[in-house]
Symmetry: C2
Subunit: 224 residues, 2 copies
DNA sequence: ACCTGAACACCGTTCAAGT
DNA sequence: ACCTGAACACCGTTCAAGT
């Protein structure tokens, strides 16, 4: 019979799960060994027996969250699946706003760690199923991946400004842009009105389709 | 007569300059108040008199480096200027690889801080000068900005893997991809050969033109 | 106004000791 | 094999005291 201690036995999965929870509710700065050991009712030594260091813990938290968002059902339409993947990642970033900074940091630690290949593979499979020349596969996939996380990160940041909800924030931002120096910031002033009321997911999908249009439509010709 | 102390007088600019230097040579983890005070031959209190905290110092370092990359000469061709801006930012990220993680972190602290508007304004001015409908200006600018920093960050990370030069790293990465499970990673396996010898800047520009093609060419039609 | 430097609270990590 | 918890080195920040 397996030995059962009073509390749930500690495991790598339980630690990662707790880490994700702390990151979600308290942000990157909210995950410390103090908060983690309190939540798991142990000491730091116990955690270090399951996980080599904090960096690896952050990587595992990232991987577990990304893995969930990369699971989409096959529909036979690569274009539709790319949109589903993109929206899934967009929503994952919205639920886990610590994701983009963490991915960027992980990238500079080890460029092709464990998460990046899975993301590229998932998007890239659908890109290669589209009617685009093979020479642009990697470039197109790269453009899509970077747009997805960049735009999703911007959106997640917008919707988490302390104390105000999203609509309120967009209103304030639009007001701020309209108050900018017209000589220095003509562009931001010109789009301030549009920013006041737009749907984030809709805007995100529009940008995605714009990139997809470049791949499938006028694609191929450099320096048009 | 202005009082001149023995050493160069401390100033916000000198502190920011020293911070950029430390970030460039030792990375994000290399910038601490210890290394900073050593380089500037003072104590922490002196720095806190000029700068409110470390976050503001990182923001100032980011702003100073980005400002330099946003200065491009007017050529009359917005398309050419967008390419020049993109390449300038690409090279800035290559010289300052701490930039993308720092921008991502700054974004989640304050979404529209001081740097993001300047980047959006600079790209957006040229986008609005292209022949694209006004409704897509923000979306297109957003796609360009996120692609630029995402791809530049990936490249900078690639070229800084400890101990090996860029060509050596790409070779190793390609080998690793070819060794992946064919059932799970068909895409990465298929592009491994191309990855072995490609020009990073060329690849980056190709991706940029792909997005620009989507804006100027087939642009506008959602769900093609 | 500008700088010094000791002191504080906190953080990631280690490790001898337990079961 | 798995966990405890004290100890260590380090980090950002403060502040009374100096000039």
């Amino acid at each position: 019979m397996a030995p059962r201690t009073r509390a749930e036995a500690l495991s790598r999965e339980r630690i990662v799960e707790a880490a994700v929870g702390l990151l979600d509710t308290a942000g990157e700065r909210g995950l410390t060994f103090k908060t983690l050991t309190e939540r798991l009712a142990t000491g730091p030594g116990a955690i270090y027996w399951h996980v080599p260091n904090k960096g690896a813990l952050l990587d595992a938290a990232t991987a577990s969250v990304i893995a969930g968002a990369l699971a989409v059902e096959a529909t036979g339409s690569p274009l539709r699946e790319i949109r589903a993947l993109a929206l899934g990642l967009f929503d994952a970033v919205d639920r886990h706003p610590w994701l983009p900074p963490q991915l960027a940091a992980q990238l500079s630690r080890s460029p092709w760690g464990s998460v990046t290949p899975r993301i590229f593979e998932s998007i890239g499979q659908r890109v290669s199923a589209l009617d685009v020349p093979e020479t642009t596969w990697f470039t197109a996939t790269s453009a899509l991946v970077h747009y997805i996380f960049g735009a999703a990160g911007q959106n997640a940041a917008n919707s988490r400004v302390a104390g105000v909800d999203r609509a309120e924030f967009l209103h304030a931002a639009a007001d701020a842009w309209e108050g900018l120096d017209p000589a220095e910031f003509p562009f931001l002033r010109s789009i301030a009105g549009d920013a006041r009321d737009h749907d984030d997911r809709e805007q995100f999908l529009t940008g995605l389709d714009l990139i997809l249009a470049g791949m499938t439509g006028a694609g191929g010709s450099r320096r048009p």
